[in-house]
Subunit: 218 residues, 8 copies
């Protein structure tokens, strides 16, 4: 075990989830060491918030690794204990700029073998875009809604559909909506009942919340 | 002229609007004195944000005065220079708790002889309530939208109708939406184009913004 | 239909939930009128955030009403379309001061016939209190965690148990924790994966989020 | 249709405005694809918040495109359904540093064939600069006021002229005025009646608000 | 000397000013004790932010005391070491609601024998009110400007006159201007050069800043 | 054990401290029940943030109780396991308005038998007041510094003395210093090295931090 | 006159001060044009907040220009109407990191021919450094105090000396003192009487405030 | 002595600590000059928050210097007056991203000859990691706890161990936990008694606070 990183290998045993590796504040060296440890234990390496440069370094070391640039994620190996479920998740986003968060959620679910579908750029300013998909979206068991700006998409969907809804504010915008705080507060204040909210840009966390629901259902 | 209050009698000449009297921070005595001055000049007295107690005092002095409690407004006399226009304003609100702000806007418009209609409690959590009125709302020339909580109503209307839209955030809510800041920021961040915004609870200001538009049209 | 309140009677049809009535900003008169409408439609009246004084007035009008003071809730009639489910919810709170929020969540679930159990005052400063209950808590299908101050309880439970966790920050505390914003941000920032969060003091909303999950499971 | 961008082609039909493309968070690839789609539908491509580098790429693909660097805007083609109106807009700015916002508003109006004039650097610290232009400004039908720092220009103009005034706070300044929040709050708090406000730096939105007014007048 | 209050009797010797007694957080008992000590030392007792109730108690004890209710101040005795100066101060306020702050500044100056004049309710929304007084105001040596809302008055005066200007933001307003923070930030961000600013509602402090200037001039 | 309160009786065993009871958000009934439980276990009842009214009720039930009004504290019984130490604590405060916080800290120490002395109203605006006591203060082993406003007292003492310093920001002040946040941030930003800080008004916590130090020393 | 910059040439006539040119948000081209205009009118060009790169460009155009890098200022020509005064200003700073702000103030004063002296790095953590200079500082007529972190220096000086004190918060620090807001609020909250405050890093403004005082004295 | 830096050489005499040099806002030139002065006085040079580039420059000048990159610290020479103590400090951190802060604290202690041990990545999401070390941690005399995100680690340790605990919030995280403010507020709000808190990322300060405690004990 390295002195400075203690990977939580027992997490799967306790709560059925494996630890993802937060790439943003780790050095290449730290990422390499922790990845090797994880692979030795036959677990999948899933690094989020990793940039192009760090990914290139890792690719040289781990030839079998995959860098998914649009999602800022890096994956090595495969999860050998996937969920066996027919439940599926819809990930709906308000704009085309929310792509990275949306894809981070999607990858996080797919690693566990959970089927999911994205519905992108169906923002509230043109409701017809959402309405033309609403029947399709209703076929999914859990809904993850990603939106920046004023985040009204979560409220509109929450008023129309009955599934569990996990809202993810996105740090897209300018002026008062910069950094995603307006979307966050708007989602927390939603007048539609029973929408629960994740931290800004936390696509990974939304996927984990969806997995907690699905895990309990299977 | 009293030493401590200088009513802006020239305002009508400059910008076509008369000064309303902000009642919240004035003493009964100040309100009495300024009202008398205004009446002497044959202008209408329009006091906003006045509470029950102050209003009761004023009613004893100005028997012809009217206290509209739900709007926290007090009116003495009549505006002799009303607008002559067939343009009309719709005031739409997201919840039944926005009533005071909605009515302050309504009274402010009626003093100038501008016709207006309220559409109350058509919040976004149940879109059908809005959709059943949308055709009727579309007949109006200027739209004032009052909403608390996450303020998504302004965005939805802004995506559906083409009129000038003046959004008024309302200080209704709790937790992060307390005080109306979430509604304010949400309206400013709206992904629907061309929505302009007033200060929190500023129903009077929204009416004045509508009058500036109507005045220019007539 | 009253002019100023439009109860969302279609909500049950759309999303399976009925509208609760927010009592804090409504007048006695508004509460009376909307309650009568709701009762006429054979729906249950469920008023949240109602104070003692308003409740006393309503009790005179609706003799069969029940005021649950510790939860600031008022109920008239019964929900005739309860959920039929054997799933149950645990509501865990960090301190004895979170009682009102905890009970609001509990009542909101019971109206739908969902069984739930409270685990009160098991805060993190004395972990043994939580540990002595953790096995029992693990028997429940959805966990609602209410905490004020630094809100660490949600993280600790999130690291130990695998169920869906809905965290409710509570506006208990002083200095920087006053108003619940520290608990809110702490819960959103949790290093335990997949915890989703409600607005401050939103016990009702947490219950609705739990119902969305349970409804999908049945 | 691309998977990740759904251009709102119906917007013109609904509200008479076309969608502008937010360039800041889109990749070159996304911008290229959406531009091609828009051109195919015979609509004008109007990209805001686009930087030099992205613009250079687009210029290679769309030879007929125009990059207006001072405004951070990129235009391809022409709007075939301009407004036919003799109404015109004045865009007034408080300092020479507000140029980008001012020009974004100007371009947004010109695309619709609406005539407008800029009055730049007429800030309140030297009132004579404004007074020497006030008579000229008064000839315009709608006023857009852009200002950073303390944003007092909107209030002064609002007290002198009767037109609709759309205030745009600008993110110019340092210390407490950095990011434009002081200008925003100052404009929202204006003691001049009926000034409505846009998000910080939202020149485009101010133009759309002006178009909503002008559209209703024609 | 009481155990819990140490009046700074040496302050006059060090910086030429005497300590005022902050009345808001002191008990009647504390106020009585410190007043007696101060009177014994032949200094003037000057209590600020004292409410009606506490003042009534003190009046029973100190028959020669004066309660100036509009300024929330209480004075016992007289300052025996007044300034001997012909310099004078103008105190200008933007609205009639700023009266308490304005009068606190005025009393604070008069205790030192400095002549001052108030110019009340000359706010920027009707510039003519200010312009009709500007020549008179220019005769004063130091200007104190009190304003709430967006605080633009300080900037306009700062652009017109060359005296030292001490700006006092006032906690008048609603929504974003509530508590005076918008006025404070606006004054700090003023585009007029050389305006210095006091804490919100700090009329006393503004007077002390003026005295520091005048003291140096005499 | 009551259903809603679980007193942490094991705390003394774990960390040597007993739980204080936070009185602000508890009902009389809750306070009575928990007090009885604590007394049964032969522990001292120490209630903080309790108001006059609640205290009066408790005094009727617990005749031997003591209400220390200036500190908002209520004590029943005695701590039978006091510290045996000759170490002592100085509690220094910047103004006479910090009294309640200062006394809460003092009582909290005395319950454990730790000797302490208060040095009140030695604020930085008149440094001589502090300098005349500094030699005496230097005799104490741990220093607790309470200050509101700009909290500079902690920095000045931190630059002069070598003891452990625990700074307590106090919610005294107005405008930007209201609520104690300026004092808190100022203390955290202190340019004197090694000053640690408690939450606003947390006199009790400062005493506990001092006890942790003293306990380790004994 | 350029279309986009209107230099306020009348400012000297109105308030005795000349306009400084804010370099941070202007292009090289704008800076060149406005500089030429100003020089043509025989006024001094004084540019603040200009970086190395822009300065190098200007130096090629204006050979006689001077770039004072430590102050981020650029000067061309000379002020032909200096003040004739024997009053002088002390500029005192708390740390060596405040240098740029301190020097901006110094240059701004020297352009008007006002004598000034800097006292650098006399922060409060080591009071002896200040005390060894206090007698010397007392010889100056106006004091400008620059400090970052917790800004306590202004309070300590304000309690010791009687001159007009203009406090400038500096954006030095980390964590809660980052950006200078803690220093700003601390200075505004000072318990020393009569300290007035400028915007964060506004060394230029402090100099102008000092000039307003000195101008009135001469 | 340089004009712009006054090293506090007397600090050791007053409070037993030597001044560390804040490297972030100083130029290479300033760092060189102050280092030479300090070395001449036979004191150790300890520079914090210094980046790679500045360190490389200094290494050329001071061959005997040591740059500890993971801690952003630079040390020249040795402290000749170390503490003689057998007390030791544990530095516990919640994640592997807190390394720089943790190491800054460690170096700061080692310079004084105080023994310390780091316990890294024992965050609360996997409590077993902490529990497996808790017995070992309990052997240390003072505990420094570094954590980002929601900072719950300090509360959990504070509920388990009795030593003095100094909590350091770390600016690790994203969304609402970005910049460390959530960790800061969470630590200040801790429901565990007697935890005192440092500014965000202030590892150095935490070490100084520990030294103040240890110094008093020896």
């Amino acid at each position: 075990m390295n002195l400075d990183i203690r990977f939580d290998f027992q997490r799967r045993g306790r709560i059925g989830l494996i630890e993802a590796i937060w790439g943003a504040d780790k050095s290449i060296d730290q990422l390499e060491r922790v990845s090797k440890e994880v692979l030795e234990k036959k677990e999948v390496v899933f690094i989020t918030r990793i940039d192009k440069e760090k990914a290139a370094h890792l690719l040289e070391i781990f030839k079998e690794g995959r860098f998914i640039e649009e999602a800022n994620c890096f994956i090595i190996g495969e999860n050998l204990n996937k969920f066996s479920t027919n439940k599926k998740v819809a990930i709906i986003s308000g704009g085309s700029s929310d792509l990275a968060v949306t894809l981070e959620a999607k990858l996080s679910l797919e690693i566990y073998g959970v089927s999911c579908q994205t519905f992108i750029d169906v923002g509230v300013a043109g409701l017809h875009r959402l309405f033309s998909e609403i029947e399709e979206i209703n076929k999914y068991d859990v809904l993850i809604v990603c939106a920046g700006m004023e985040g009204a998409l979560a409220t509109v969907i929450g008023g129309l559909l009955s599934q569990p809804i996990i809202a993810v504010p996105v740090s897209i915008g300018y002026g008062v909506s910069k950094n995603g705080e307006t979307a966050l507060n708007s989602m927390l204040s939603s007048c539609a009942p029973g929408i629960s909210v994740m931290n800004i840009d936390n696509g990974y966390g939304a996927a984990m919340a969806a997995l907690r629901i699905i895990k309990r259902i299977c």
